[in-house]
Symmetry: C2
Subunit: 195 residues, 2 copies
């Protein structure tokens, strides 16, 4: 997605060979027009897949999920990272380790909002080692729902999450895929056909 790649080049800050900060438009401040375009792009890529629900993980996945839900005409669910006092049982749960934050979170989705009748599109802001997506897939499987695929705003192509998922035959659509962050420079992977 050309516009997203331009935004990453213009505003992304490479902090190391594995970390890029895109807080100006995705992870802290949100560019609402870009989010709308991201939603339309995911909607195009997963059109006619019978998606009935979108699932993401709080917090950075919420704006893209909201916009994709609006485009596809389906609800978006954000998995919670901690159990709150008003969301304590009747849950599908999975453990997700974040290497960036060096912590493991229990993520959970209420059984009220996903069932075996659903076809689920998983969305997330970043794909690195794939831990968050695998946790969300675990929840989709617990619910007996079908998986339409995985939509990622920015894939770190030099980490193995994308490979792990694609080897399982899962359709992964990344709107921007970073091949390398070496020497503070962002290099994108050429877009490939998905499974």
């Amino acid at each position: 997605m050309e516009l997203l790649e331009q935004k990453i080049l213009n505003e992304g800050r490479v902090l190391s060979e594995s970390v890029i900060k895109v807080d100006s438009f995705l992870n802290h401040q949100i560019d609402p027009v870009l989010m709308q375009q991201i939603g339309e792009e995911f909607s195009d890529r997963f059109a006619n897949k019978g998606v009935t629900k979108i699932i993401t993980l709080e917090s950075s996945g919420i704006a893209p999920a909201q916009m994709t839900g609006l485009s596809l005409g389906v609800p978006a669910i954000f998995a919670r990272k901690r159990k709150s006092l008003t969301l304590i049982d009747h849950l599908y749960s999975a453990s997700v380790h974040s290497f960036t934050k060096n912590e493991t979170n229990e993520i959970s989705v209420s059984k009220d909002y996903i069932s075996s009748d659903d076809t689920v599109l998983i969305l997330d802001d970043f794909l690195a080692n794939g831990q968050a997506v695998l946790g969300l897939m675990d929840i989709v499987e617990q619910a007996g729902a079908s998986l339409a695929g995985v939509g990622i705003v920015i894939e770190k192509g030099f980490q193995d999450g994308g490979k792990i998922l694609r080897e399982q035959g899962i359709r992964v659509e990344s709107l921007a895929s970073i091949e390398s962050l070496v020497d503070g420079k962002v290099t994108f992977t050429k877009e490939e056909a998905s499974v």
Copy 2:
């Protein structure tokens, strides 16, 4: 906002005289079309106030903030509840106690995204005792920015947050204001003119 009140009546689950759960469309699953209408309503109510930035708090404020930002044509920022490894300094911070979750969070916003040139609209999903909004106002003040007002999706009119804010002369616009949750029944406050 009639449509929101209907949604609360139809789908809200009253858990006690002070807690209502609206996880089916706002706090866990999101109704994207309702969020769009909420964004348009906030946009109408704060039109011509010179808003340059929207600030909310992760996670439930993000979808309304995204849609209001899209309508007003301005970026939306979500304050972080914990410091992450990629967002560690150069911050405005404030402490916010959540009585629902019985915990105190440090909330923070990067100094990169709010300045004395900004006119800020604070948005949140619920207004109860006002702690979250007061924390966000603290950050707006630290930045030397102007406050356009406060937009709330659901105000608990029986708690004192709204009163505290309005007594300070702050414009508070609540799209639904609950007067009482007694006997498991939701009663709305009649809409009043704001300051």
